[in-house]
Amino acid sequence: MSLLEVDGLKKYYRTGGGLFSTGREKVHAVDGISFTLEREETLGLVGESGCGKSTLARLVARLEEPDGGRVIFEGKDITELSGKKLQELRCEIQVIFQDTYSSLNPRLTVSSIVGEPLANFNMGTRKEQKERVRELLETVGLNPEHAARYPHEFSGGQRQRIGIARALALRPKLVVCDEPVSSLDVSIQAQILNLLKKLKQEFGLSYLFISHDLAAVSYISDRVAVMYLGRIVEVLKSRDLATEACHPYTQALLAAVPVSDPRLREGKELIVKGEPPDPVNPPAGCRFHPRCPRAIEKCRSVEPVLNEVEEWHQVACHLSC
C-alpha cells in the first residue's frame, strides 16, 4: 500500500466573482492529477511558475478543498475529512513553506511557533512541550538557547530551519515541502537540502518536494514528476532524469539548466519559446503543443494520457519515445 495516492485531483479557481459576474471563468490550477508516493520515498515535483505546484501541495495537505478527485492517505480517503478527523490528519501530514518571512508570525517567539502544534494537540505538560521544542531546535541545527528570540532575529536559512522544526513537531509521516529552498541563497540551499535528507533517514519521513529548481529536485528526490499547466506530463526516477527523459517539456527544462562550460551546450538547442498559455483557457489537445517544437497534428486535438513506457517511467506524449 502506498503512503499517498492522488487520483484525478482537480482544483479550479473562479476569477472575477463580483456581484454581477457570471463566474464562469475558471483557472484550471490543478486539472486531473494522479500519482502515488511510497513510504519513505521523496517525490519531486517540478514545473514553471503558475503551473499549479503549490495548489497541489495545499490540496494534498488539505489546506484547500479539491473540486474533484481523491486523495488517499494510508489507504483512507481523506478528501472528505472534516472536523475532528481532519484534525487527526494534521498530525500525519505537515507542510514546509516557501517564504521564510511570511511563514513565521513576527509577533511570536520561536518557542511558541514551534510549540504551537504541540499545544494544539495537548502533547504533554507545558514543561514537556518546552523540552520537546528545545529538542526539535537541536535536531534542525539551531541553538536551543535561542528559543526565546523572535523570527526577525534570524537569517533566512535559520528561519527555514524553524519552519522545519515546526513541521516535525507532530512527528508526521508525510511532509509536503512547498519550494522550501527557493527563497534562500545557493549555499544555504545545500545546507537545507542536506538537513532534509538527514531528517528523512532519522525519522523515516516521506517528502512531496516541490520546486522549480531541477538540480535541487533531482538531488533530493527518488522520483521526479514534471508538471505543466495543471497536469503531470512525465514521471521518472531522478537518476534517469538526464538520460531517459523523453517528454519534450522535460527535455526543454533539462536544456535550460545552466551548464558550467558553454561548449557543453552543443546539442541542447531545445529551448521552449513564449510563455505558458492562460490557465483560464488551456489549449485543446496536448497542453504543451503551442510551444512544443515537435508537435504533430494529433497533438492539437487529442489530449495524451499518462502511459507507462517502462517500469517507474510514465509519459503523457503522443510521441512517447
Binding site: 489546506l63 494534521r90 507542510v95 513553506f97 509577533r107 504551537e116 494544539n120 515546526r166 513537531a169
Partner: protein, 277 residues
C-alpha cells in the same frame, strides 16, 4: 521594545503625551484645582473680565470660567474615551469576522458600511442625536453608531492582508482552531494601526462631541462642557470674547496633543511609512 524606544526619541510626540497627561491629571484632581464651584451662579459678577478672583473671568451667569474648563476636562475626555471604547468593541469584531470569514457575510457587512459611509459622518450623527433627543448619552450613541464603520473597514482590509500570509496556512496545517488563529495570529498583527488610528481620532471625537454640544444636542446646562460653553458664550462674543476664547483654546490644545501623540505612535509602530495616507 523598539517601538517604545522610537516613541521616546520623538520630541513632538512626547510634548503631546505630556499635555495629555497634564490634562488627564487636571480632570482627575478637578475638585482640588478649581477655585470655584463650576455651577455656582453669581449674577452680580456676570461677564466679568479676568481678575485675581476669577482668573479667566466669568460667563453670562457669573460662573467661574476656569472652574468650568477644569471640570469640563472630565466630561470631554471621559465621553470621548467611552465613545472610542464602544467604537473599538463594535468595529474590531465586525471587521475581523468580515475579513476572516469572507464570502457572503463579508459582502453584507461591507454593504452596510458602504451605506453608512455614503452619508457625511457628522451630519448622520446629528440626525441620530436629533432623533434621540438632546443629552450626552444620546450624542455618544450617535457618534458610536456612525464612527465604527471607518474602523471596521480598515480592520477588515488589514485582516485580509494578514490572512494571506503563509503563517496562517502553517497554523491551519498544524491544527490551530479558527478562533485561536484570530486571537493569536491575526489580531496582534492588526492592532497597532488601530491604536494609532484611535489616538489620532481622540482629537476628532472631542471636537465632534463639542460640536454637537455647541449645537445644543450634547451636554445640557448646567453641565460644564467645552462645546456647550462655546455655545453659551456665542451671544456675547463681541462684548466678552473671553467666554468663547478659553474653551476654544482648551479644545485646540487637547486636539493638538492627541494628534501629536498619534503621529508619533504611527511613526514608531510603522517606521517604513506604509500607514501614511
Amino acid at each position: 521594545m523598539s517601538a517604545i524606544y522610537r516613541l521616546a526619541r520623538d520630541k513632538m510626540a512626547l510634548v503631546g503625551l505630556g499635555i495629555i497627561i497634564v490634562i488627564v491629571a487636571v480632570g482627575i484632581f478637578a475638585p482640588y484645582l478649581a477655585p470655584h464651584d463650576p455651577v455656582q451662579v453669581d449674577l452680580g459678577q456676570k461677564l466679568a473680565r479676568p481678575s485675581a478672583e476669577y482668573p479667566l473671568g466669568t460667563d453670562h451667569l457669573g460662573r467661574c470660567i476656569l472652574s468650568r474648563l477644569i471640570y469640563g476636562t472630565r466630561v470631554s475626555l471621559s465621553t470621548a474615551m467611552l465613545v472610542l471604547t464602544v467604537i473599538i468593541f463594535i468595529s474590531v469584531p465586525a471587521g475581523t469576522i468580515s475579513g476572516y470569514v469572507g464570502g457572503r457575510l463579508d459582502n453584507i457587512v461591507m454593504r452596510i458600511i458602504d451605506i453608512l459611509l455614503a452619508f457625511p459622518g457628522l451630519v448622520l450623527a446629528l440626525v441620530i442625536a436629533g432623533m434621540l433627543g438632546p443629552g450626552l448619552l444620546n450624542v455618544m450613541i450617535a457618534l458610536g453608531a456612525v464612527w465604527w464603520v471607518g474602523y471596521a473597514r480598515i480592520i477588515r482590509g488589514m485582516v485580509l492582508s494578514v490572512k494571506e500570509k503563509e503563517f496562517i496556512l502553517a497554523a491551519r496545517s498544524c491544527g490551530t482552531s479558527h478562533s485561536k488563529i484570530i486571537f493569536r495570529h491575526i489580531l496582534p498583527n492588526v492592532l497597532s494601526p488601530v491604536i494609532v488610528l484611535a489616538t489620532l481620532d481622540m482629537g476628532s471625537l472631542i471636537l465632534a462631541i463639542s460640536g454637537l454640544s455647541f449645537l445644543g444636542l450634547g451636554a445640557q446646562p448646567p453641565m460644564p462642557e467645552w462645546g456647550a460653553m462655546l455655545n453659551d458664550g456665542r451671544p456675547y462674543m463681541q462684548a466678552a470674547p473671553h467666554l468663547m476664547l478659553f474653551p476654544g483654546l482648551a479644545i485646540m490644545l487637547v486636539v493638538l496633543a492627541f494628534n501629536l501623540l498619534g503621529d508619533g505612535l504611527r511613526d514608531a509602530f510603522d517606521p517604513k511609512g506604509t500607514m501614511r495616507g
